[in-house]
Amino acid sequence: MLTAILVASVLLGGAYALMAMGLTLQYGVARIMNLATGETLMGAAFGSFWLFTAMQLSPLLSLLFIVPLAFAINWAIYRWLLTPLVRRAKNQGMLEVDSILATFGLLFVIEGAMLAGFGGNYYSYSFLAEPVTLLGHSFGLNRVVAFGVAALMALALYLGLNRTRYGTAIRAVAVDPVAAGLVAIDVPRAAAFAFALGGALTACGGSLLSMFLTFNASMGVVFTMKALIIVIMGGVGDPRGAVIAAFLLALVETVVAALVDPGLTLAATYLLFVLTLLFRPQGLMGRRT
Amino acid sequence: MSSTAILSVTGLSKAFGGLLAVNQISFDVHRGEIVGLIGPNGSGKTTLLNLISGALAPTQGSVRLRRRELTGLPPHRIARAGISRSFQLVRVLPSLTALENVMVGATFGPDAVWGAEAAAIARALLERVGLGGRENAMPEAMTYIDQKRIELARALAADPQVLLLDEWLAGLNPTELRIGIALIESLHAEGRTILMVEHVMDAIRSLCDRCVVMNAGSKLAEGSPEQVLSNHEVIAAYLGDDHA
């Protein structure tokens, strides 16, 4: 039972880590708290679903379309929708309020588009549904594959941020946008890139989750909450913290779903959130100031 | 001497991660005294002020106001206990008029004065700092020194036992500086107790009864301005060893 729960939560944590890394890039680098992140995720899930059922395209191949498309759309959102807010904000607080409101509106636009296209029904599809045995317990192959892809993406992001020149520039913007500008980093461009990359990672997480979850157009809020709480637990702007917190959240959820009731997973998420707020508001990895 | 100490700081320390920003600082401020807190940039003066005013909680040590323990209290409790402060970068309240800005100090300070009485106190203080007749002006439309005057009046409106000034004279031009020094001097004459972080040496020489010198988080020297400013270690801390 224990190993089953542990393995299941690791498999789930992979996709959570992707969406949380996506949000932490958007919030930590581009300074936009994106309340529509769950809708980005659901949009990608519906995209994979549609490509699979209508075009018989494997969700793994559909990533090749969905991820670049999400990158482009998020770039456009940052450029046309959010940059005006960044420009008109007199300070960080104003930008925060404005971006919360704008992405809250965006949430309803995306959700509305999904409702118009798919209605309020629940969807799922069967892909790689055969069981595989891991450590003596059987799991859906789709979950294992999803985890593998998530791990690859996370590794690629880590190497990209830490081993490339542009990755260093992005990390510099995360630490101090003003100082980054002074050393000739194009901050608006880096912010747009980070926002787009974040959206792409979130979309990738959504496509992977669609392989084994049942979803509907109105579920975005729950995933946004999960992503936000993971980001806060991990420490804003810290992708490593996001990964650790993602697995922690997946573990707590899996335990609650297995031992208590699957209907209480959001309550478990909130419990983690409250504990974080009470004891480590700076995040697991953050330093207390 | 210690019986008249209003503010006592004992063994106060603050660590940020591994960095000791304030290290075992102790000193007293006596009634009616102006004490200057000086030292090179980054020596921990503002952090020390933040520890006293409650913006930060100390890692170790204590702050007492007339033997009342204030260590670790939140800023509003410290303000109500009778310590007011100004900020290094001037902070006025943009949507409140000059008069309302000053009333804030009286309304939420130790005496909790409200209504017409608070307005009367604020009006008198605006006059006092040289802003008589500007009661209804919005602070954003005012000059830098006028904003600093509002901030000072707001701090005074609480009728504090100790006034903390964080580089209140910084950024003023020579004429404004003279006005500013005269203003603080008049507070001194009134018997106010002031602890001020300051870089302007002329101001320190003419205003302070005593100075506490900090370097790299620790107390380097304490004494009259003439004493500390001729101290070799102090000169070395400011200008490097060659000049000492």
């Binding site: 607080g93 309803f108 588009a113 409702l115 909130y270 | -």
Partner: protein, 313 residues
């Protein structure tokens, strides 16, 4: 700020009392479509005003209106058959205040972002908890509400709540609490260092706001006849209250009032004309408001008024 009541204020009080009396006569003229529309408008005026009591001066955007509204409605479903109506209302207000208190204690000591996040998922959290409780304990999700109360009575109660919300806002504005809120909205650091217990002020205000919204939920509950978590905790309520308050302008007491009426009419029109795209279109309207009317209609009107009178803005 002048403390005795100004002439302008006296005029405002007399005018709003007269307006209220006039509005209260509406059910005598019509008890069909117009009354239904008036109920919708009155409920949103009360909620948007209550929302702006807290979120306007503090700039802490609460996305949790549906959580308070739904909880108020659920108190009715739990108690209406056993307790007299006034007791039910008091219980609803208490539940709303307690919910706000818990949220406030968890988040309002910290920066505003945590509060927004907490409020964002709150309605969904409580919806899931209620669903869980009902499936585990009562065995069935959803309940019928048997309260014999006419549409006119609901309307009058809502008008009463609007009056209470506006009066509360007015009283707060004149009090030390209101002064403290303005300082907090401008600069929390200065507020704290001037002696304001910022966390306490924020929690208190949020509790008042939460109690009022829960009361609206309670009064509206009999309109639903059948209540289930999906209906009571509808996220559209949170969304609409925010957009109405923003459209009207949340910095002025009368702002939300100005925002509600056009938005309810627009909503009616969109929902009738494009039933499948309501969500999408309302989301777009929301974005338009955020981008093009950031100060709200009331801010815009005030500026125009000043210009007409020849004062500089």
């Amino acid at each position: 700020m002048i403390f005795p009541m100004q002439r302008r204020e006296v005029i405002a009080v007399v005018a709003s009392t007269a307006a209220l009396a006039l509005l209260a006569g509406l059910p005598l003229a019509d008890d069909g479509f117009w009354l239904a529309l008036a109920i919708s408008i009155a409920s949103y005026v009360a909620m948007a005003t209550a929302w702006a009591l807290f979120s306007g001066p503090t700039n802490y955007v609460s996305l949790a209106t549906a959580a308070f509204f739904g909880s108020g409605a659920y108190v009715v479903s739990a108690l209406a058959e056993t307790a007299p109506w006034p007791v039910v209302l008091v219980a609803a207000a208490l539940v709303g205040a307690l919910l706000a208190l818990a949220t406030g204690l968890a988040t309002l000591r910290l920066s505003g972002v945590y509060f927004v996040i907490f409020s964002f998922g709150l309605a969904e959290l409580i919806r899931q908890l209620v669903t869980y409780y009902q499936t585990q304990v009562t065995g069935s999700v959803g309940r019928y509400i048997f309260v014999t109360i006419s549409a006119s009575e609901i309307y009058w109660q809502l008008l009463g709540l609007c009056a209470i919300a506006l009066f509360t806002g007015w009283a707060i504005q004149r009090s030390r609490l209101g002064f403290a809120l303005r300082v907090i909205g401008d600069d929390e650091t200065v507020a704290a260092h001037s002696g304001i217990d910022t966390a306490r002020v924020k929690v208190l205000l949020f509790c008042i706001s939460g109690a009022l919204i829960a009361l609206v939920g309670a009064v509206m509950a009999p309109r639903f006849t059948y209540i289930e978590p999906q209906i009571a905790y509808n996220p559209m309520v949170s969304f609409q209250v925010v957009i109405m308050a923003l459209l009207g302008g949340s910095k002025r007491l009368w702002g939300p009032l100005v925002g509600v009426i056009p938005f309810v009419l627009l909503h009616e029109w969109i929902a009738g004309r494009f039933p499948n795209h309501t969500h999408l279109l309302l989301g777009m309207v929301f974005l338009l408001v955020v981008y093009f009317v950031p100060q709200g209609v009331s801010g815009w009107l005030e500026k125009a008024w000043r210009r007409i009178r020849g004062e500089s803005a």
